[in-house]
Amino acid sequence: MSLFPLSFSNFKRSLKNYVSLIASLSFTIFILFNFQNIVFSDALDQLRYMQKSYINIVVQSVSVVLIFFMFFFVWYATNVFLNQRKKEIGIYTFMGLDNSKIGRMYLLESLFTGLFALMIGLFTGIIFSKLFMMILLAISDIRANISFQISLNPILITAAVFLAIYLLMMLKGYLNIVRSSVLDMLSASRKNELRKECGWVTAFKVVIGLVILLSGYFVALRTGSLSSMGYALLATVLVIIGVYLLYDGFIPFILQKLTANKAFLYQKQRNLWVNNLAFRMKKNYRTYAIVTILLTSSVTVLATSLAMKNRYDGVANFRETYTYQVMSFSKMDQAELTRRVEKDNKIKYQSSMMISVLKSNRVDTQFSESGYSIISYSQIKAAAKAANQTFDYPKLEENEVIELDHQYIMSFASDFTGTQKMKMDGQTYEITAVSKTPYLGSLQENMETYIVSDETYQRLKPTMQTLYLENIRIKNPQNFAASKDDLDPLMTAELDPENSQSIQYVAVDPSNPDISWIRIMYSITVFLFLVFLFASVSVIFMKLYNDAFDDKERYTILKKIGIPKKTLRQSIAKEIRFAYFCPFVLMVISSYFSVHALANVMKTNLIQINIYSTLAIGIICFIFYHISVNSFIKNIA
């Protein structure tokens, strides 16, 4: 008998059964292709030349993560379907086919499935590639013209990676079939469903699981600054083990207790779905645990990149405040500067400042910096008003100062806490606040500046050198280069404290290429988050889809004994709701703690991540829940 036509007709006939396998394989292909497409397109080129190394690192690590993801996802999907197919294939043994022939038939059928999925994945990937890239760039806030161009490289790489993984899994399935007996095959999908274990093993798992999970949460709460990074790691490990044991111990234990409590069980449709859940938990707990952990980690990764982006925005903010900052040690002609800038640009606002510079040996603080400067309260207040910044600090006393700080991208130093002191010329001042608002524009990043009361300023000014500052913000900061040739002729070679006529300026490029890789990283993490979200949810979907095949017989019986369809539908809906929302709820709780720990380390507020991710995952779960219920009902009909 020729295997090819038989396998092909098998494949065609059971195409319906393969739908979810093909859908999930195509999904991974779609994702990998789109990512590769971005890598090979010229959209990132303009950024890449600016920060080649960082962007390449980000892109490469994401590629590795995606390939790993593809590997496990394909593994999972093919495994689920191998079990289902084995039962069907086992029947052929009765038709006189030997194992190796059946194995070859499996290989052929899988090959059709894989190639079909590859076609669909690449096709949809190509169709949606432009949309996909537009979304990614929009999230990254990058302006680039994307043309609809498809190069061969991403297609080839995607196909090669997928086929390599898929063929490996096919081979694994083949060996599995060749080595198993008929009985194994026929009962493949029934394995593990009933596994009784001794009472004390369960009790141990329940107690240990809860203790580990709760202590993981507790440690997460204790995670504070960089020094407690070890805590964060410990918390992660504890939560992962805890979640795993929770599904292996506590939840089945509760379900067992519920099925034993007949007063609870014999109400509504519980006798059906609670029993079904309890019966399946032993087989499905790993899936639930993996999904919960995957979701929690992707939320945490998302939170990390948001924290980075918050900092990025903070830094960008410094560059946005003033476009040109002109410095000199003597008073400048503001009208002249204005006239020159207005040749090519419109001015949005401007301000003048006097900053007095101290030598560091006259200052004594916790940290040592090379130069310190002071500025008066009323000057900052006036400039802030012009620049439309909030400035709501109360008037300073003689001995009070406000420290002007700036945003760091890569620093975990702890923030200002409690009262701190600084000493200037032997006199102690109390630092009443630390502000990260860029009152001094980008200069604030390079100077350690304190706001002092007007009286203090007047008193100290004569003993210091005064730096005059003209700040100009133009309407369109992107056009900063246009006024350069008008300003340049005014400038001296350098700013020399010995020469009061020397004058210099900085022109700020708002797009800050040095750290723009963070924006890309951020949007790629959002993208990865969505990928993992879909992957996790589709793992549940596949599981349920597979279970529906097992349940077919049960529901036939129920229909035969006269249980109304409506009751069955309600029971199915409740069972499926648990499958999606139990991991969801655990994810919400766990990610609350992990994001909280992260927010502590990064010194930023990330509660929005908790809210948005909960909403996003909730919505996706809700949609998949409905699809699952429908396909489940269709499958058992």
């Binding site: 469903e193 009933l194 099925t259 007949k262 007063a263 069980l265 014999y266 109400q267 509504k268 449709q269 519980r270 006798n271 059906l272 029993n275 079904n276 019966f279 399946r280 049960r554 019986i557 129920l558 035969k560 004994i561 006269g562 249980i563 109304p564 369809k565 009751t567 029971s571």
Partner: protein
């Protein structure tokens, strides 16, 4: 006595015009309250088909079936499932217990899905399990039960709703003689003590001898009817004789 099932001119044909199988040809049959009827006949004679029509699993081609005065061939699906739920109990040849719950939960299933008071369900489950001799097996899962225990479990599940009428398709088909006897005695007691009406399809003359009447089905038509006498073994002999005269013999 009340007529509980009234079958009039029941016809069932399978397949399209050219490949038609007439599984049932104009069956007329009245079942009264508290009847215990056995339907016998050779393989392919239409027994399962008849039972499927009665238990509303399939629709007849022609004719009508009145259960408790309601024509089940004409009512809508919602009323149909209500009728099945409230008045009919089914026992199948292949047990059909759910493998994912204990025997106790299997038996309680129809009531528990029907919003009956939980205390009542628990009490009833205990009672009916005792009737079928299953008390000590209640906590077991189907895979831990013998074939006979499973069949008695399925019967207990069919009877827990106190159905007015019980349809059983070869309930003893897969059982040995001891288990068969246990089951038949349970059915008999349901018939005598609980006033249940029973319609049972069987191949087996011994099983049929527990009934009050035996109908012979052949090529989709009722060809003979026997009434039980005082003594079961005498009835058994008469059934065997009838089967022999029909040339099919007992199995």
């Amino acid at each position: 006595m009340n007529k509980i099932v009234e079958i009039k001119n029941l016809v069932k044909t399978y397949g399209s015009k050219e490949f038609e199988t007439k599984a049932l040809k104009a069956i007329d049959l009245d079942i009264y309250e508290n009847d215990f009827i056995a339907i016998m006949g050779p393989s392919g004679s239409g027994k399962t088909t008849l039972l499927n029509m009665l238990s509303t699993l399939d629709k007849p081609t022609q004719g009508s079936i009145l259960i408790d005065g309601v024509d089940i061939t004409k009512i809508n699906n919602k009323d149909l499932s209500k009728l099945r739920k409230e008045k009919i109990g089914f026992i199948f040849q292949d047990y059909n217990l759910l493998d994912n719950m204990s025997l106790e939960d299997n038996i309680a299933l129809p009531l528990s899905l029907d919003g009956v008071d939980k205390k009542q369900i628990i009490a009833k489950t205990v009672k009916i399990a005792a009737m079928f001799g299953l008390t000590e097996h209640l906590k077991k899962y189907p895979y831990q039960l013998s074939g006979g225990q499973k069949q008695r479990g399925a019967s207990a599940r069919a009877l827990i709703t106190d159905p007015k009428i019980i349809f059983a398709d070869e309930p003893t088909g897969a059982l040995d003689s001891k288990s068969s006897r246990d089951l038949l005695e349970s059915l008999e007691s349901a018939n005598q003590r609980n006033q249940a009406t029973i319609l049972m399809v069987t191949h087996d003359a011994f099983s049929a001898s527990y009934a009050k009447q035996v109908y012979m089905l052949r090529d989709g038509a009722i060809t003979a009817r026997l009434n039980a006498g005082r003594d079961r073994s005498e009835f058994y002999d008469r059934i065997l004789k009838l089967l022999a005269s029909m040339g099919s013999g007992s199995e």
